[in-house]
Amino acid sequence: MAGFTRTLVLAAVAALTGCAVAPPADPAALAARDAHAAVAGASMAAELQLDGESTAAFSQVVLQNGLVAAADAQRELATAGHVDPARRERAATAIDPAVDELREVTDTGAARLTADDLARLRAAEQNLAAAVAELGP
């Protein structure tokens, strides 16, 4: 029984940790993906708020969390080493304006959101989606 268990454990470790031989993610692609996820969540919260399907408190928390996550992605891209300058530039041109839009909407407050705010968030989300598609997974 002990021998069987030991063999089983060793096999599992080899199989599971062996799966990890994957190339490290490109920081530009990773930052674009994270920022897109954050802005997409904020857009959804803004839409739900405008449709009267969410509370202002909840929507505001989603916007704030989205801003924090997008700003983190922006900072990680800026501080990452060994990034192809062209890829960094492509990611930054989508992330930087998205963070600015998100900051403005968050400062406005969920209770005062307008359709125009939602449209701007959607535009930022689409720009980021394009960057994600271009930069790859």
Binding site: A12, L16, T17, A37, F58, N65
Partner: protein, 408 residues
């Protein structure tokens, strides 16, 4: 009639009390990244907790003593100390995550920053443990926690493509995700389903409520009906995330994103109900982990313990809980993200599982303690099979945590 009511109440509170911040966050993260492709882990994990919680409940009902008391006596202080060391530290980490979960739920309801809610949450947990009776505490949080059924309601209201969810359930590693990340989350889900405190609380709670052999049927129903239905709610959380967040590329990094599908499906009313459910579930789990901290230490050292005793007569038991709450509060006050604490806690839980579950398996097989209620053949086969799986998961947990950078 009264007995039937007690059984129904036990099952309902088992459902409502099954989910905690680890289950809620991990299932949502997995759903938003992998769809239902890790649903099989929830099924395997829930079956595992049923096997071991049933054994722990049986040990308590038959011997009239909680797991740790019997473990120390049966296996000696050295083995019990390694069990205690791992279980106590994991429990402390889980307690910290649960208090953070309460604060996050209060933030969702108020939009006041969660850091301001953390002391409020910790004091509220302490007050309830100090002043409120065991049954009221357990039943109230379990029943309000049933509002998490809102996730299942949301999933049906969303009308997802069931065929697609079914395909995901049969799929292994989705494209665009590394195999190591997939297995990391498999380990995290397994750890979330088998968190050690659930067994300690179940076993010590049985002693608090004075269970005897006559209560074995009730214990079996709580475990075999309540826990699987709680597992269905876990699948519903992952399903909501898979149906709404995955197609939009929204990955769950905070508790707020977990609830976006609920608002989309059921509007404000369902959203408010589920926020209340999350608050009750995390509050209930914070009570359970705080009590488990007191139970494990007091049972190991042979101190007087139990909520059925006045605090003055179980001073060290209560002091332990206060110190653990203060430690959890201090960790959260550093500004560490409660969601990260949660993710790390479920993986470390997975790593420590053998130290928790082996002693239960041994004691449940000892005729000196269990008499005619020792494990039957099938329960033993299930227990040993799960223990082999637990060993594999335990060994793989930390390497996967490091290699994937906590699932990045």
């Amino acid at each position: 009639m009264k007995r039937l009511f007690a059984v129904a109440l036990g099952v309902l509170t088992a459902i409502g009390g099954f989910l905690d911040i680890g289950d809620i966050v991990t299932n949502a993260v997995v759903g938003s990244r992998f769809g239902w492709s890790l649903a099989w882990v929830v099924v395997v994990g829930v079956a595992g907790i049923c096997v071991f919680a049933h054994m722990a409940g049986k040990v308590a009902a038959v011997s009239g003593r909680a797991t740790f008391e019997v473990v120390r006596e049966r296996l000696g202080p050295r083995m019990a100390l390694s069990n205690l060391g791992a279980s106590f530290l994991i429990n402390l980490l889980t307690l910290t995550a649960e208090v953070g979960g309460i604060a996050l739920a209060l933030q969702l309801a108020s939009s006041v920053h969660y850091l301001l809610w953390i002391p409020v949450a910790a004091i509220a947990v302490w007050l309830v443990i100090w002043r409120v009776g065991f049954d009221l505490m357990e039943n109230a949080t379990g029943l309000v926690g049933l509002l998490l059924v809102g996730f299942a309601v949301a999933l049906f209201l969303l009308g997802p493509d069931w065929a697609l969810l079914g395909q995901q359930a049969l799929q292994r590693v989705p494209s665009g995700e590394a195999a190591a990340t997939y297995w990391f989350y498999a380990v995290a889900l397994f750890g979330a389903a088998l968190t050690p405190y659930e067994v300690f609380f179940f076993s010590s709670g049985a002693v608090e409520e004075g269970w005897t052999v006559k209560d074995l049927a009730r214990s079996r129903l709580n475990v075999l009906v309540g826990f699987p239905l709680g597992g269905v709610l876990s699948l519903a959380i992952a399903g909501c995330a898979a149906a709404v967040l995955l197609p939009r590329g929204i990955q769950v990094t905070s508790l707020s994103e977990v609830l976006l599908p609920v608002a989309e499906a059921g509007g404000r009313l369902l959203l408010v109900a589920v926020i209340l459910g999350v608050l009750a579930a995390t509050f209930g789990a914070a009570l359970e982990t705080t009590l488990s901290a007191g139970y494990t230490l007091a049972q190991f050292f042979g101190w007087t313990w139990g909520k059925f005793r006045p605090p003055a007569r179980a001073a060290r038991f209560h002091t332990t809980m206060i110190v653990c709450l203060v430690v959890g509060l201090a960790v959260l006050a550093t500004g560490v993200d409660p969601v990260t604490v949660t993710e790390v806690s479920v993986v470390f839980s997975a790593a420590a599982l053998p130290l928790t579950y082996l002693p239960i398996l041994i004691v449940a097989n000892d005729p000196d303690y269990m008499g005619g209620h020792v494990n039957g053949r099938w329960l033993n086969v299930a227990g040993q099979a799960y223990f082999a799986l637990i060993l594999v998961v335990s060994v793989a947990a930390i390497p996967l945590l490091v290699i994937t950078g906590v699932g990045r």
